[in-house]
Symmetry: C2
């Protein structure tokens, strides 16, 4: 993360100080033309566009500042954009947004020194309409639905922007650039674009390249001159959040082939280097439906995120977020749990509970086998906390789907999974996963632990980079255009690989030499 | 005029029919990207921008039309602009505006077959603030002044657009492109840009290249998607109206050097060919103040526009517009009158009335000599219609200023005035001037009459061309950037030439071989 930021820190940012020669009888070009000419040179473009409202103020601003001004610039494809000409001591901020289906994370960045000023996360208010993308797309198709969804997310952003700015003694009026990375549907719903055709064959979005949008046109309560950059998408199933992720990891600049997995609501995978990028997403047809998607639950205080089981006593040692009494288990906790259940022999290679080993932790509720992790007396709500066989089966399908996708993608390029030297793990959920546990259950390939690079919220990271580095923005189109999107062909071959991956760690344990046989003590 | 339109009629226009391949699983690029890709090819640009409001409708429009649509395009510098995607039978119109200080002329054009649909002229409503540019610039500097001037012209255009459209059974909603040619001040006041610095040294405008402005942003009541193209200016004294004029005459495409004179409120002159363009305007300092500018009064019904004087009887034969009883004399009438007075010996070579020749037409009113053209009993208002010695002196200064400007401009390029093969006369006033009379008084050089080409309203012509021809729009920046603007240096040399030109036709009659000595019958 630090490394990537260093790569781009040499690139100039979007605030440029310009000292123009004063007009004279020998150089009496117009105020706007004089300034835009200098900015064309600065950006290396043939044209710089500016809003009329800005041009109306420009002559006075230039004279007040004696022709020495700071300009907020951006780039819209082949054109430059002059967003604002600042007064002497005016604070110039940018807003990076990771527009998640469930959670929205915003980061306020100083456009001049490029420091992060503050960060804030909140639930996507569209959840009140529907928890997932599909529900919202259906709702958007009803009369007024699209407008309502757009209004909800905009109101949410506006509310939180005010709080975010307040926390650093700024006002939203200081925000001149906004950069948003979201999946294709969330990006459409923010822009008020129709999503109807994304879920109908041949599944195409209205727009893949959104360009630079006047923030005011979306109803965003920031500076009226502000422009919003919405990361482009590759298609309905490969959105701007992933392009932001690639940008942030720098995958597209590396000579060595690396892999990036974003484990969010979906599993999205990119393989590549500076020569090529190959991607696929987890929407792999009915066979995998609900597969990867059901693994993660939101991490929050009191949620179990780490599990250890003593292989001898089978005692379960849990850790909860903020060390509060346990009230649930999040995705990374489930993966830890599965790995530990397997290593302790409490589940077999098919993920089935072994009542003999589980002992009194094994109970049957409504005819469904469960393993109790936290007894009623130790939990937050006085109810026992457990995992059902159905949950475990679902996890097995999920991890098998993930592994099969990885195997298929690398295989398509003639690369073996164990050849990979770098494996970027992205996403809030992904960043909490213990790679050791993920390897143990056969979800991630058996690489040296040093190969795994937890990148945190790469979507937010990429969105922030856009505000910090001109070079980063230049990379985006190249990334988008360079991606070959592989539709997962759920054929017999794929299903065979999927079936083989439904064992822990795999039908072929030779692929996971580091994973000990169940019951043996783990050497780490 | 016909010739120029033919040059451009081979150039494609702004309405393009596109038949897109339907999306399929093999080509599932987004709706917008699919369309914009085709339009990039069509326009030969790297980028085509489109409004978000348009993109929101696009998927449905494309499907309703089965992917065969007509698009209204335009160009904004290096970028293309998709303005509208039309339904099957929708009328697509453009509006060309000659935005004069005094008079505004508008023309409605069919964007598809490029026919002129209707035309309409009205007084610039800003006249209520001030009759001339200077008065309005001063007013614009008062609090709220700029906004009021902008509102006045916009309200005027909106009112007349509704009438214009109504006359051809259209609504303003069918207008998608607007092209405006005006002088620099009028262009600024339409766009709501400050004009304050145009009249203060070093006399620079806020903007010379206005770019493509959303018409709605100016308050224009046309289609909400419409874009307005405002002709760029060279500087405060050389505006978009003249660039439109050059475009319309095609001066910039000719191999042969030609001259264009726009005799409007000011005298603006362009000399050049396809290699170079040299321009100067009549704002030639205090020596010429009120010079060229006072010649023309508005032509209207009942106004004298033609005068003949019998060299023997000195009988004055007048023609009025619409053959109504005379109530004034317009610019072309004054030039005719001066030429005839000179040829009949009623004025001398200095323009002074000769009482002995004038006879009873010579009268003194309040101590000022006058020549009566129409006696009281023959005029519209029962008052005699005459011309004073002061008016005549002013005309002499005006014509001398014009000739000196022409001489100075051609001289600066080492060209003699009589070498010119083509002399374009532009402007409503200019188009009514009888070149023979203008030569007689020494206002225009003594070229064969066939060299003079009366071009009518070239500003409106150029503005219309922009709506009709893509090629024309491509020429505009080249014209603007190619113009060398010559500041008239009113030095001793200029004043000597000016003094020599204050005789009829000139101190050196050898320059006007076709002009007979006074009193002789004219052989035409």
């Amino acid at each position: 993360m630090i490394e990537r930021q260093q790569v781009h820190s040499n690139s100039p940012g979007w605030v440029v100080s310009v000292a123009l020669p004063s007009p004279s009888l020998h150089d009496n070009s117009a105020d706007a033309d004089r300034l835009l000419r200098a900015l064309k040179r600065e950006l290396g473009v043939d044209q710089v566009q500016a809003d009329l409202i800005l041009l109306r103020r420009l002559p006075q601003v230039l004279r007040d500042a004696e022709y020495r001004v700071r300009c907020v610039l951006f780039r819209d494809g082949v054109c430059g954009r002059l967003v604002h000409v600042a007064a002497a001591d005016e604070a110039l901020a940018g807003l990076a947004i990771d527009l998640g289906t469930t959670r929205v994370v915003m980061r306020l960045v100083d456009l001049e020194d490029r420091r992060v000023l503050a960060e804030r996360a909140f639930d996507n208010p569209q959840i009140e309409i529907g928890p997932d993308v599909l529900a919202r797309i259906h709702y958007a198709d009803q009369p007024g639905g699209r407008e309502r969804l757009q209004a909800l997310i905009v109101a949410g952003i506006n509310r939180e922007v005010a709080n975010l700015c307040g926390s650093v003694h700024m006002t939203p009026d200081h925000i001149f650039l906004i950069s948003v990375a979201g999946n294709t549907a969330m990006s459409h719903l923010l822009a008020g674009l129709p999503t109807r055709w994304m879920i109908r064959e041949p599944y195409i979005p209205a727009v893949n390249r959104f360009g630079l949008i006047p923030a005011a046109q979306l109803g965003l309560a920031v500076n009226p001159l502000a422009r919003l950059f919405l990361f482009p998408s590759v298609g309905s199933y490969f959105g701007g959040d992933l392009i932001a992720g690639i940008l942030f990891t720098g995958l597209h600049r590396q000579s060595e082939t690396a892999l990036l997995v974003d484990v969010g609501t979906n599993a999205e995978v990119v393989l590549g280097n500076r020569e090529w990028l190959m991607a696929c997403a987890g929407a792999a047809g009915p066979a995998l439906e609900g597969g990867v998607t059901r693994m993660g639950t939101t991490a929050a205080p009191g949620v179990i995120d780490r599990v250890r089981i003593d292989p001898d006593s089978k005692a379960i040692d849990i850790h909860t977020i903020d060390d509060l009494p346990p009230r649930g288990i999040c995705g990374s906790g489930v993966i830890d749990l599965a790995a530990q259940l397997y290593l302790s022999g409490m589940i077999d290679i098919r993920g089935k509970f072994q009542p003999a080993v589980c002992g009194e932790r094994w109970v049957e509720i409504n005819g469904m086998a469960h393993v109790i992790i936290v007894p009623a007396e130790a939990s937050a709500n006085g109810q026992p906390l457990g995992i059902s066989q159905a949950d475990m089966d679902s996890l097995i399908r999920s991890k098998a789907a993930m592994y099969t996708i990885l195997e298929t993608l690398t295989g398509s390029m003639g690369i073996a999974l164990d050849e990979l030297k770098t494996f970027f793990v992205a996403g809030t959920f992904g960043s909490f996963i213990d790679p050791r546990s993920a390897i143990t259950i056969g979800m991630l390939p058996d690489l040296p632990l040093t190969a795994f690079r937890s990148m945190g919220n790469t979507s937010l990271g990429g969105a922030s980079l856009v505000l910090q580095s001109r070079e980063a923005v230049m990379d985006i189109d190249a990334i988008r255009d360079g991606i070959t999107y592989m539709e997962l062909n759920v054929n017999q071959d794929f299903m065979n690989r999927f079936s083989a991956a439904k064992f822990i760690p795999h039908t072929d344990p030779g692929r996971f030499p580091s994973v000990p046989a169940p019951g043996r003590r783990i050497s780490r």
